[in-house]
């Protein structure tokens, strides 16, 4: 090894170790001397546009995201190139080293799979055989971890799209995730697409390529009808990613065979022109049953894969009403109609509301530990089939709009430890990067005591028990939850009114 000193295009000095640590699709990667950054050199010479794009990525685009309100927040979510370097006629980028939690601490439970200390590429967590057989149990988190990770990814993509950028190659390869600390980080940002300015240089990664791109894959780049990656194709990839992390199966890989003699053509049709949602209720020709799964998966992997590929027992509707709606929009209405696909913002919003519908499974051995309340009086964990027993309050949210209160499409499940945050108190507060530090603190919590549920006010200035003659519940006072009770959390515009519903099972 030898240290090489070079100057970045902005004049700062960079020292890197000339021992290559990795090779990506287009870059060779080296550590800087302090190992806090890596330098990735493009193997092929970049053209003028390629260089201009990099200049924008480390300059204008980076500033537009990191120098704004909430900029600090994005540093954890994006591994964004910081500087451009040139060495031996090759162009490279200086990128922060991935945070420690994105490297496996324990790795695999199978000795021959030696991945301890390696990057937590998302693919390890999207395949149920990897997640539940190959990875060490201490690496995989629970179902809530993945829901929260999907929220982070949606938020990051929403921010990118808001800045007018498209990722263009969104996949589990380009996102590192850590289900243990519940973190996600978008990597390989140097291929960003700006519509009309910088075209994509890749078509994407199998599993995530949008049908319209797949369908026109073989057309020449000069052909006007050729579809290339852009914002709408990111939206397809995001939907696939979320579906895969939450359900451990691919939404379009079903049993339909399109070309019996040519696997490449079959793949092209199944992911392109003839793409069809496996759970479509309009056309069930791509839907499989468990017998088909048994025929198509290796016997030793079947026990891990089968529960997830059981479309009858784990249909997409277990994701709850908000996400289900978007799944239909993405894979039925929008599959071949890009403009109908849900935006990253839609996903973020739906996941935030779904998190409020989570309830803990009462089976201590349940692998997933959490599931989405199914809106019935007898909630059952879809993962281990345990019926929820006991009294369970569900809070329906209304909010103040002008002089009246309107029902919000938002409910909160109460279990021991549920908290009320400022975004529950007022519908105009949204839990995202813009939250101020004091808005991240819980303002009230719930407690089950002597067979009754109580709401304990911590710091809501004026909580009002509407049902009990508009009695004011001051901070540190509590109120018992009873069927139909109405509690006002704020009198401001957008302020929330809670209506209590008690489910007894």
């Amino acid at each position: 090894m030898a240290l090489v000193k070079i100057k970045a295009t902005d004049g700062t000095q960079i020292t890197f170790d000339d021992k290559m640590i990795g090779q990506g699709g287009v870059k060779d990667v080296y550590f800087t001397e302090d190992r806090r950054h890596v330098v990735g050199f493009f193997r092929n010479k970049l053209d003028v546009y390629g260089k201009e794009r990099l200049e924008h990525i480390v300059g204008k685009y980076r500033d537009s995201i990191f120098s704004q309100d909430g900029g600090e927040y994005w540093k954890n979510l994006f591994c964004w190139p910081e500087k451009i370097v040139e060495y031996n006629g090759k162009t490279g980028v200086l990128v922060p080293t991935y945070a420690q939690e994105f490297f496996f601490t324990h790795g695999s439970s199978t000795p021959v799979i030696d991945i301890k200390g390696r990057e937590k590429e998302g693919k390890w967590f999207a395949n149920p055989w990897h997640r539940y057989c190959n990875l060490d149990k201490r690496e995989i988190g629970d179902w809530r971890s993945y829901l929260n990770i999907c929220l982070l990814i949606s938020r990051a993509i929403r921010r990118m799209h808001a800045a007018g950028l498209s990722h263009s190659d969104l996949s589990y390869k380009n996102i590192l995730i850590d289900p243990v600390s519940v973190k996600a980080c978008i990597i390989d940002i140097d291929g960003l697409v700006v519509p009309g300015k910088f075209p994509p240089d890749v078509v994407g990664t199998p599993d995530f390529i949008a049908p319209e791109v797949m369908q026109t894959l073989k057309l020449k780049i000069s052909d006007k009808s050729k579809k290339i990656p852009k914002r709408e194709t990111d939206m397809h990839a995001l939907a696939v990613l979320i579906y895969m992390y939450l359900l451990c199966r691919h939404p379009l890989r079903g049993k339909k065979v399109h070309d019996m003699n040519d696997e490449n053509r079959d793949e092209e049709l199944a992911m392109g022109e003839k793409a069809l949602f496996v759970e479509s209720n309009k056309d069930t020709s791509n839907r499989y049953d468990i017998k088909w799964v048994k025929k198509n998966e290796p016997a030793n992997r079947y026990p891990y894969i089968a529960p997830w590929m059981d479309l009858d027992k784990r249909p997409y509707t277990i994701l709850g009403p908000y996400i289900s709606q978007l799944v239909r929009q993405a894979f039925m209405d929008g599959l071949h109609n890009p403009s109908a696909r849900p935006s990253a913002n839609d996903w973020e919003d739906a996941i935030v509301r779904t998190i409020d519908l989570l309830q803990p499974c009462q089976n201590p051995k349940c692998e997933q530990k959490w599931f989405v309340f199914d809106n019935t009086t007898k909630p059952i964990c879809p993962f281990c089939n345990t019926v929820y027993k006991g009294m369970m309050p569900v809070l329906n949210f209304y909010s103040k709009r002008g002089s009246s209160f309107k029902l919000d499409n938002h409910r909160l499940m109460v279990f021991n430890g549920t908290r009320i945050y400022p975004w529950h108190v007022n519908r105009n507060v949204f839990p995202n990067e813009k939250l101020k530090p004091d808005q991240k603190k819980a303002v009230a919590y719930f407690q089950f005591h002597n067979n009754f549920w109580y709401l304990v006010n911590q710091s809501i200035p004026k909580m009002i028990d509407i049902t009990d003659n508009k009695k004011i519940i001051k901070p540190n006072e509590h109120i018992q939850l009873t069927e139909g009770r109405q509690i006002l959390l704020s009198e401001d515009e957008g302020g929330r009114l809670i209506q209590v519903q008690l489910v007894q099972n």
């Binding site: 090779q23 699709g25 193997r43 199978t110 021959v112 799979i113 030696d114 991945i115 390696r118 590429e121 693919k123 390890w124 395949n127 055989w129 990897h130 190959n134 390869k173 078509v203 994407g204 990664t205 199998p206 390529i209 797949m214 894959l217 073989k218 057309l219 020449k220 049993k255 065979v257 070309d259 019996m260 003699n261 696997e263 490449n264 079959d266 793949e267 088909w292 025929k295 198509n296 998966e297 290796p298 030793n300």
Partner: protein
Amino acid sequence: MRRLPVYLLLDCSGSMSGEPIEAVKSGMQMLLSGLRQDPQALESAYLSVITFDSSAKQLVPLTDLASFQMPDIVASGTTALGEALSLLCQCAKTEIVKSTPEVKGDWRPLVFIMTDGEPTDDFNKGLAEFQTMKWGITVSCAAGQGANVNTLKAISPESVVMLDTADKQSLAAFFKWVSSSISTSSKSVNDTKQEIGVDQLPPPPPEINMV
């Protein structure tokens, strides 16, 4: 799930004994542990090893990477490359899953052939059989100066690579390149071309020359 079958055809003739065969063994070990670290390859790639000396043998049938056991490789005898190609065809015919209305068939197999000498058997017979079947990418590697590049060109006209010597470093580089080629193939989408070709593989390291 579609499997990606990978066949390795390795020359184990007498001339490979000593450093070359040891390098092949450690190269194989490296290939295996490397591919097992790639979740995509671990999911879909299946590996088989066919060796050829005075005759050809399938040492390991098509096996998933997690359960693959390293075979014991010994160098001796002559170079039955023709027979190896015939055996490859036989194995592929029985092992490759074809699509049916109920089952998703395998991807076309990747074939990597490594030899350090001239075939000593009826090469053309094996070649003719090989050419009747459909393959994914086929790469042949001439390990050292003793290998006949023209013979290899007959097998894979567009993708013959050459190692100057069949030493440890060159063979290690070759197996590493095979490993990243399998990784890439397990996640590539063939853009604009009708058939996948060697130009979609990662560029070979300096020890390997494209012929």
